[in-house]
Amino acid sequence: MKINNASYDENKTTGIVVRLANRSIFRNTRRTLLTVLLISCSLVAILFTDAFVRGMVSTMVKISTQTFLGEAQVHQQGFRATNDIDLYIEDTHTLFSKIAETEAIQAYAPRVISGAMTSSSDNVAAAIIYGVDSDKEAQVSKLKQAMVDGQYLSGKESEILLGQRLAELLEVSLGDRLVVTVSQAHGGDLSQALFRVSGIFSFNERNMDNGMAFINLSQAQELLSINGVHEIALRLQNLNQADDKTLLFWQALNNEKLETLAWQDLVPQLSSMLAMTEYSTLIVSTILYVLVCLGLINTMFMSIFERQTEFGILLAIGTRPKQLFIQILLEGFFIGLLSIVLGVILAFIVCYWGSITGIDYTDLEMTGLTLNEPIYLILDTMSFIKMAFATLLVTILACIYPAVHAAKLQPSFAMRKTL
């Protein structure tokens, strides 16, 4: 007889536990592969959702900022709240040169904005008149690309661009005459001017096509009798700068007179909707992780019941219950490892394909924003790593319950079949 307690070393059993776990999962290859497939497909679905949401967010932000908004806008303090045409930025000359010198700002477009009455020979309609600098506007918004008929502004007197629906409402076409009536700044005398429809645009966005008209900046200033602008739309070097409030220009362009806001603050509905969209990854992944857990618990229990006699033997001949527990967790770990390798490869292929071809949602309108270009999936390495680890963790966690069950087996009960 020999008592080896003194020399007992847990590390020495690690090898045999790993060997047992590793060989056990390949005993029923089909079951293991099906389980691996279930887990890896869930991982693919999660990563696809994540990449899709990223793509959608970026597309929506791109559409809403690039169409007309700009990534940021400068206004006179109070203008946004009141839309009062008196609140215009006066000292435009120095401001423009300051903006032009700012490296982070790629382009800017000054705008004069006023509510107006437009009347044709057939009809009248309310509209918002934008006075824009034709060259600068083309660098910031998609107005030039949105032209469906006629010519873009060239700076000539009495040019006016109408939204497609507005033109239909007023029953005018190219070359037709149109009277615009506004109330002037500082006092509110009515002022009128005659225009000839020089172009029709369509942003594919109802509110814009319904109620917007563009005229040349200088004529708008004259009409309203102001010597400044209401809004300066900014195109930044890159989108992230809109978030980065540490950049110097944010301070320079925000003072007691000027208010400069990024797109998130200009259209808070959009940013809150995007925040909600991001939850969809969380929801999808939670649901799938629960399914993975249940599937895996089921598989592990099936495999444990099949091997009950074997576990009984292992326990009878002196295996510590803890070792059996670790063995089952290790089996889960190996299954998880296989699954994430397969899942990440498949997800990469699928998402990569989606990032090249894009997913076409054209003409689907979401909260007033038309997705007029396909959504290109965006692969994010960090999410791949995070989700893969989360999946591995979930598979190991799911094995705790079956592992506890195996460790608690009474050897005499487990071996009833043979005894």
Partner: protein
């Protein structure tokens, strides 16, 4: 291997140096309750000495497996006590009991004894791995025992690639290789044809005599009973007879 003269000397040794390895005191095991109460074992008092080759016999359902399981610490008695090497096994915690089984008891069951994913050699090595015995020592003992049980050349076969008799030999080798004080075998020959069964038993007997290892096994088979040196008869959970042959 079957040297009668040697056998006799050893038998005498056993009788002279008789130390108790197994002792049961008023051991009871009941299953169920009320109408379904089964007295699988009632007031079993038993003393087994070192080096004995004992068989437990009795009709089906008489409590043979129950007794062996209680002795081996695989089951908990309803009342009474089991002492192995003068230790109360009922007082041990889970891990202590596991380690005690690992170091002191060898088990052989009727069938499906082996771990299917391990080769014959790995099955035999398993307990020594748990005990932390060095690779060198393990290799030495495995090759010696493989020789003793006549399985040389089959080291790397998986259990599924071995015959029933070969599997049981591996089980015997595994039970013995860690040098436990007792080997408990519950109908080790039941799944074998009688010739193979007798061969297995003769092998066990030789090992018992050569290495003075204590064997307790149960059986149905009269041919097997003949080979025992002590027969304990169970009926309805009671020990009704206990004979020694010399």
């Amino acid at each position: 291997m079957n040297n009668i003269a040697q056998n006799n000397t050893q038998k005498r040794d056993v009788l002279v140096n008789s130390t108790t390895v197994i002792e049961t005191k008023m051991l009871c095991r009941h299953f169920g309750q009320g109408d379904t109460l089964v007295n699988a074992l009632t007031d079993a008092n038993l003393t087994i000495n070192k080096g004995e080759f004992t068989t437990i016999i009795g009709p089906s359902g008489s409590g043979k497996s129950t007794l062996l399981q209680l002795i081996g610490g695989l089951d908990t008695p309803t009342s009474g006590e089991v002492l192995l090497d003068n230790k109360h096994i009922s007082q041990m915690t889970g891990t202590e009991l596991s380690d005690f089984r690992r170091d002191h008891i060898g088990f052989i069951f009727q069938a499906y004894n082996l771990i299917p994913v391990l080769s014959a050699k790995e099955n035999i090595e398993y307990i020594m791995l748990l005990q932390g015995i060095s690779a060198q020592e393990r290799a030495k003992r495995v090759s010696a025992i493989m020789h003793d049980v006549g399985l040389e050349g089959l080291e790397n076969r998986r259990p599924a690639q071995l015959s029933g008799g070969q599997q049981q030999r591996v089980a015997v080798a595994r039970a013995m290789v860690s040098e436990p004080s007792i080997i408990l075998a519950d109908e080790p020959t039941a799944n074998l044809d009688s010739k193979t069964g007798i061969e297995l038993l003769d092998m066990m007997k030789t090992l018992n005599e050569e290495q003075k290892m204590t064997f307790v096994f149960s059986t149905h088979d009269p041919k097997i009973m003949e080979r025992a040196k002590r027969i304990i008869r169970l009926e309805d959970g009671c020990i009704v007879d206990d004979e020694c042959f010399s």
